[in-house]
Symmetry: C2
Subunit: 149 residues, 2 copies
C-alpha cells in the first residue's frame, strides 16, 4: 500500500481530546486553520468556490484499535466501523468543515474537531448530500430517542 504523507497540519483550539465536544448533540462550531504545506498550495486552486470540504486526517495520538467500543453518545458497545471512534485499524479521521476563507496556503474553517497539530492527508470538495428522508442512523437514532424519553 501507499505511504501516507501530510499535505499540511490543522491549527485548532484543542490541545487535548477532553476539550473536544463529544456525545449526543455535540456541536462543532470551533474555528481553525488548515495550514497546507507550500509544495501542495497549487492543489488548492479554485477551492474557495466550495462552501464545505471533506478533510481526511490522521488520528496521530490514538495508538491501537478496538473492534468493539462504547462511544460517548451511547452506553452500549458498537462495532468500530459503525462509530467514529479514533481507535480504528487505520487511524483515519474525517471531518466535514465549512470553508470561511482562503489566504494562500491557509484555509480558515469552521467546525474543526481535530487536535492542534493533526496531520492532514487529503481535502476533497463536498459535492452532494444524502436526502434526510433516505437516511437511517441506526444505534445513534436509538440512543437519541432514549435520551429524549
Amino acid at each position: 500500500m501507499f505511504t501516507p504523507q501530510p499535505i499540511g497540519f490543522v491549527s485548532s483550539p484543542y490541545q487535548n481530546t477532553a476539550e473536544i465536544p463529544k456525545g449526543l448533540g455535540a456541536k462543532h462550531e470551533a474555528e481553525g486553520v488548515l495550514k497546507i504545506l507550500p509544495e501542495f498550495e497549487l492543489g488548492l486552486t479554485d477551492i474557495e468556490g466550495f462552501s464545505h470540504l471533506i478533510v481526511i486526517w490522521e488520528f496521530d495520538r490514538s495508538p491501537g484499535f478496538d473492534l468493539l467500543g462504547t462511544p460517548p453518545s451511547d452506553n452500549r458497545p458498537h462495532g468500530v466501523f459503525a462509530t467514529r471512534s479514533p481507535r480504528r485499524p487505520n487511524p483515519i479521521g474525517l471531518t466535514i468543515i465549512e470553508l470561511l476563507r482562503r489566504e494562500g496556503p491557509l484555509l480558515h474553517v469552521r467546525g474543526v474537531d481535530m487536535l492542534d497539530g493533526t496531520p492532514i492527508l487529503d481535502i476533497k470538495p463536498y459535492l452532494s448530500s444524502v436526502a434526510p428522508d433516505r437516511l437511517r442512523r441506526g444505534w445513534l437514532a436509538e440512543a437519541e430517542a432514549r435520551k429524549k424519553q
Copy 2:
C-alpha cells in the same frame, strides 16, 4: 505516520476505469460487495442500522499525482483538492454508498464507483448532511450551468 492496511476489498462490476461513469450528471447506481476480512468482522457490529456508509479506500492503480488537473466534468483545470481526481498526493478515495444488506463479513451496497479488488481502508457511518441551501459547489456548479446553456 501510520502504515495503511486493507480491512477488506471491493467486489465491483468495474475492471477498468473507462467503465466507471464520469463527468456531469454521472450516476453511480452499480451494486457491489464490500468483503471485509474475517479478522475485522466484529467491527461491523450494528452497522446494518445505517442506510449509508462512508467508505475510504486506496486508489491502488493510480500512480503519482498532479496538483492541477482537468476533470471529466469540466474543460478547465482545477486544483487536485478541489476535485475528486485519483491522482492525489495521498491516493485516498471516498465513496458514500447505500447499504442494502449485510451477510456476515459481506456488505451488499449500491453506488460503487471503485474498481474490482480495490483495498478498503475504513468504513464510517454517514450521520448527517449539509443542508442544500448552505452548500456552494464552486467550479462544478459553474460547469453545470454552462452545460445547460
